[in-house]
Amino acid sequence: MRLKKGIPVIDQGDKLGFWGGKFGGNFVPETLKKPIEDLEIQFNKLKNDKNFIKERDKYFRNWIGVPTRLIKLNNLTKKVGGAQIWSKVVSDANGGAHKIYNATVHCLLAKRSGKKVIIGDTGAGYAGKMLSMAAKKFGLRCKIFMGAKDIKRQQPNVKAMKKNGADVIPVYSGSQTLVDAVSECMRYWVANCDTTAMCVGSTVGPAIFVRICGWSTSQISRELKVQLLNEFGNIPKKVKLYNCVGGGSSSFGFWNEFMDYDKKQVEFIGVEAGGPAKSKRHAAPLTYGSKIGILHGAAQYVNQNSDGQIEETESISAGLDYPGISPLHCFLKDTKRARYTAASDEEALKAYQIVTKYENLRPSLEPSHAFSVAIKDAKKLSKDTIVIINSCGDAYKDRGILEKKLGKKYVKSN
């Protein structure tokens, strides 16, 4: 299995949509073949259309507010005493997370194809919140499918979705988290694909959704490249890009523009959710060697039992609480372009405390997983190494959990 140079990774799949011959594909009911093919034709045309890109960039600039900041975390760097620690503050984006890029692009596509309704899944509530924002912006009706358990633990985002006029549909089947929300959303699309557009909230699902999402979030690394050139005059000799990985949309977007660099120069480190330290129910299929299976239309490494039933996961961060992983990351793992590891709930919380203590930055629980590993690694790295963490979400949505785990006082004071 080989990664090709000079071709965007999203376009490296084969005719049937498989990366490396085995990850991804289109394991979908017959009914969805046609709407998926329509979307493929539309996207393949528009992604090279100058006017469409102009339109996308206009909304990215004026509405999402790109570029997001690249900042040096001076206090943290001093405290850790190793590599230089930087952060790309993607949570600066309108809405507070990277999910806005994909949501905006899907709404632009839906608008052009004449659809009136857009549906989406959500775990942490960010994908749902952003889709509801974008739908409102572009005059589309919006339905968000969300696990009942996630609705309880991510109330601020639920309120935001409702405020934007979206229907939030609770999903009570299975583990009542993201995995069930995606299933329910796909089922709804099966029944309504003639009038309704679907936005999959991450780089997962049938191949076209993986591609659209990866294409959209790549905005992050396009900006980062420019920012590094402005800051250092060139791409530094040793760069390490840390990102949390649930479905894999922010990490893929954070890395994409650097794909062709030698990994000795620009290394990619994906941090999965290890779950509670004592639990075996992790959400880290790449780190803990899960087997290949089919979930939500795509072949991928996925947590499952020997029969092929998908297993429930457990993580403090709803956004990473997913048993599978993007086919793109399976491909990057097996081609050894990226390496993957996991942080536990406890480690993520600790990292959140450290970051908020030393810096004026409040990463949500998802990027706190990445901070945890980055801080540990940075200690051992030389001063000329540039460690950059994608702070892809803001902790506002986690207030309830943080208060419960760390105390009200702690959360109020920062």
Binding site: V28, T31, S173, S183, V190, A191, G293, I294, D307, Q309
Partner: protein, 266 residues
Amino acid sequence: MLNPISLAFKKAKSEKRPALVTYTVAGDSSKKQSLEILKSISNYADILEVGVPHNTPVADGGQIQTSAYRAIKNGIKMNDIFQIVRDYKKNKNSKPIIFMGYYNMIYQYGKNNFIKNCKKSGVNGLIIVDLPWPENKIFSKHCKKNSINFIQLLSPTTSNKRLKMITKDSHDMIYYISMLSTTGGKLKVSPKKILSNYNEIKKISPKKNCVIGFGITEKTISNFKKTDGLVVGSQICREITRSLNNGQNPVINVSKMVSRLRKKIS
């Protein structure tokens, strides 16, 4: 010699009625009970679809999901499902069995192993909801070699061009999904429209036995008497749930329901 599925269609045709195809989930609500249900409905149904329960189904509505989750919760495993079929096939009155499920279950079992076990236990056909054409080309050929009918699905969104290619690659039986819906949805398209689509398919592929599924219930079934076959699933699953909730015996209630369904198309 005709395979058992084609024979079942032939027999129904000779009686001037569509074949009645039922769907129940293996292991719902227990291994024993699901076997009893299969045995008792064999008096009225012509072909039995046996659902292989999966916990992330992307095309099943509420009723079938409930049945599937119930079966999984009660511990059903792939090998138990093969055993149910083996036990069922010991009956004199046994009917052709079609497995219906999702591809991951087969993928994890091992494709070759799965087909081998289907053959050994007496499974006559396979419907794999999330393995569409052309992705299923190699697998369906492999099924055919082993005398297992791979049943291709067609839907209202299937283009004519695609329809021709799919039916060309199909075996004796094809399955038309009546409308854009998950299983168990209310019939939201008129029977007339469904029949006109059905007739289109028959025109293109007159020799294949084409069944209609999704939205077929006691209420709607008599609209479709002039077809090769009809599938009833969600209503049966709902009857099992209802019986369990009321402390009644699902075997008796389901059997009565299937008998009523049969009368309506005879």
